[in-house]
């Protein structure tokens, strides 16, 4: 009974107090940063410096007409936004976002196959987009859906292969163990830079962010898979995209940047007090925000890749590189350990 209650509290707190506000404010951050990069001002009307803009956006999304075009396949059309949003949130279940909070572990589900679970759920994310493309029953969403399925499947392979060396070094699939391994401050990004770079780039492709946003590419596909969506259904796709960014940033923090640890002031040991626990959660969120800023910045920095270049990069560059990385790591581990 206690377990259920505590898990429920952790889930609600993580989603409603951490993830959704983070999503809302990363949308605002995206708009402000893009404005500054493009010499504009950005949203600055709602509240001081526009900090209440997410509320205005939310109210707008809810009040808008939820229009269902006559030519769509209704069941899938309704299902797709939820399918796009939920995997991103589910991924966060296994992320250790801190060491201990009081008497509980700061992780919703301490799975010993954390990474397998993550990849399993992440690969579900493509269904939301494919379903949306199929259900919309018109040209642009269809093309967007096709592109996204090909892109996400391709990059999932590179992504999956890139983290294999990490787990060869750690020797455990539990994400908590990965953080324990990095406690000394020698983060895996320094030990496995190639794996990190491949994972990072694959993460951009997995979350449909520029320079790999081909499934939605506004200029050529008019929004791609969400062309036919409006109101809260569109908002769910939008939130899903940002939630996926948060999930994948959290993954990168855990796998390559030491999770909630910092290699000084005892911050790399399991917290003994509640304040320490929250401080470590803060460290984790801070690292996560750095990656969010990177995601946002890159979007306004790089142009979109051509589709064949995208496939070329995925299959001919990253998959072989990731495989080579596995082999090299294996050889080194065999001889030096």
């Amino acid at each position: 009974m206690d377990f259920w209650l505590i898990s429920l509290i952790k889930i609600c707190a993580a989603i409603f107090l951490v993830v959704l506000p983070l999503v809302a404010y990363s949308v605002l951050a995206e708009r402000r940063i893009s404005a500054w990069i493009q010499d504009r001002v950005g949203p600055n009307r709602v509240g001081p410096w526009g900090i209440l803009q997410p509320m205005a956006d939310g109210i707008k999304f809810i009040l808008k007409e939820d229009f269902t075009p006559g030519h769509v396949r209704k069941v899938y059309f309704w299902l797709a936004p939820a399918v796009a949003m939920i995997p991103a949130l589910l991924t966060l279940a296994v992320i250790p976002f801190g060491s201990r909070l009081g008497s509980t572990d700061a992780v919703i589900a301490n799975l010993n196959v954390g990474i397998l679970y993550t990849f399993g759920i992440v690969s579900l994310g493509v269904y939301g987009i494919v379903l949306a493309g199929y259900a919309s029953n018109s040209k642009y969403p269809f093309l967007g859906g096709i592109r996204s399925s090909a892109q996400m499947i391709s990059y999932e392979i590179a992504m999956g292969l890139s983290v294999v060396p990490v787990f060869m070094l750690v020797g455990d699939l539990n994400l908590g163990a990965v953080i324990d391994y990095q406690k000394s401050g020698v983060w895996l990004a320094f030990k496995q830079p190639l794996a990190f770079i491949i994972f990072l780039i694959a993460a951009f492709a997995e979350t449909n962010r520029l320079p790999f946003d081909l499934p939605e590419s506004e200029t050529e596909l008019v929004g791609g898979y969400h062309t036919e969506y409006s109101s809260m259904k569109f908002a769910l796709f939008f939130l899903g995209e940002y939630a996926a960014m948060i999930a994948v940033s959290a993954m990168m923090v855990v796998l390559f940047f030491g999770g909630w640890t910092l290699p000084f002031a005892g911050l790399n040991e399991t917290a003994t007090s509640l304040g320490m626990g929250f401080l470590q959660v803060g460290i984790f969120i801070g690292k996560l925000l750095m990656f969010m800023a990177l995601f946002i910045w890159v979007r306004w920095m790089l142009p979109r890749f051509r589709y064949d270049q995208l496939m070329d990069l995925g299959w001919k560059r990253f998959v072989p590189l990731a495989l080579a990385n596995i082999v090299v790591t294996a050889v080194i581990l065999y001889f030096w350990r």
Partner: protein, 209 residues
């Protein structure tokens, strides 16, 4: 047409120089809180980039801008319009409506003019800001508002690209409103003053008899 495809070096093909250059450009723009240089001299003290914070920061109209047509007074605070109705006649969308004073109407409030309009209305919703009224006016009594008349007050510059109202009726400007918005026309030529002087000179011309 033959497109040149430059051979990229290995370093360039790694995409890293492109990344670095992109980062440099975006970073430079991110921190460039420079003012727009287009109207720099007109907008001193404002802190903006390429866009304006509109209601607070206002765009200064360029020379030749055709704003809303307003009636003007001369330097002696007299109405210049003589109710000749040429502007009403020339107005393409028929936005102007003039009621002349009639036979027993009020006299003009200045010399050299017989009459002044009893009513003068411009429907700003109909007006297309073409400037024909300004062009046709023989008395230089109606102007498409802009900031560049002599001695304009910088703080009271008229920004007549932002005509707003909450009803159709409110957008029909009557004579009093038009005169108030038009203000004083700083006319350098002063046609009637010169004519008066000429007439006076004619009158006092010494004749040998």
């Amino acid at each position: 047409m033959k497109i040149k495809r430059p051979k990229l070096t290995l370093f360039e093909r790694l995409y890293l120089p492109a990344l670095w250059n992109g980062f440099k450009v975006t970073l430079r723009h991110f921190f460039s809180w420079k003012k727009s240089e287009v109207y720099a001299d007109k907008n001193e003290g404002y802190d903006f980039k390429a866009t304006l914070k509109y209601p607070e920061e206002l765009w200064t109209v360029p020379k030749g801008f055709r704003g809303a047509p307003y009636l003007v007074k001369d330097q002696n605070d007299a109405t210049k319009c003589v109710s000749c109705q040429l502007c009403e006649f020339v107005c393409p969308p028929k936005a102007i409506r003039i009621v002349p004073p009639g036979e027993d109407g009020a006299a003009a409030d200045r010399a050299n003019a017989e009459k002044l309009p009893k009513e003068f209305e411009i429907d700003m919703l109909r007006c297309i800001f073409c400037g024909y009224c300004e062009e046709v006016c023989p008395e230089e009594a109606i102007f498409l508002a802009k900031d560049y008349y002599e001695g304009y007050d910088k703080d009271k510059m008229r920004r007549d690209y932002a005509l707003t109202g909450t009803s159709r009726k409110e957008m029909i400007y009557d004579k009093e409103k038009l005169l108030e918005l038009g203000g004083v026309h700083h006319d350098e030529i002063r046609k009637w003053e010169k004519k008066q002087k000429d007439a006076d000179a004619q009158e006092n011309f010494p004749v040998n008899d």
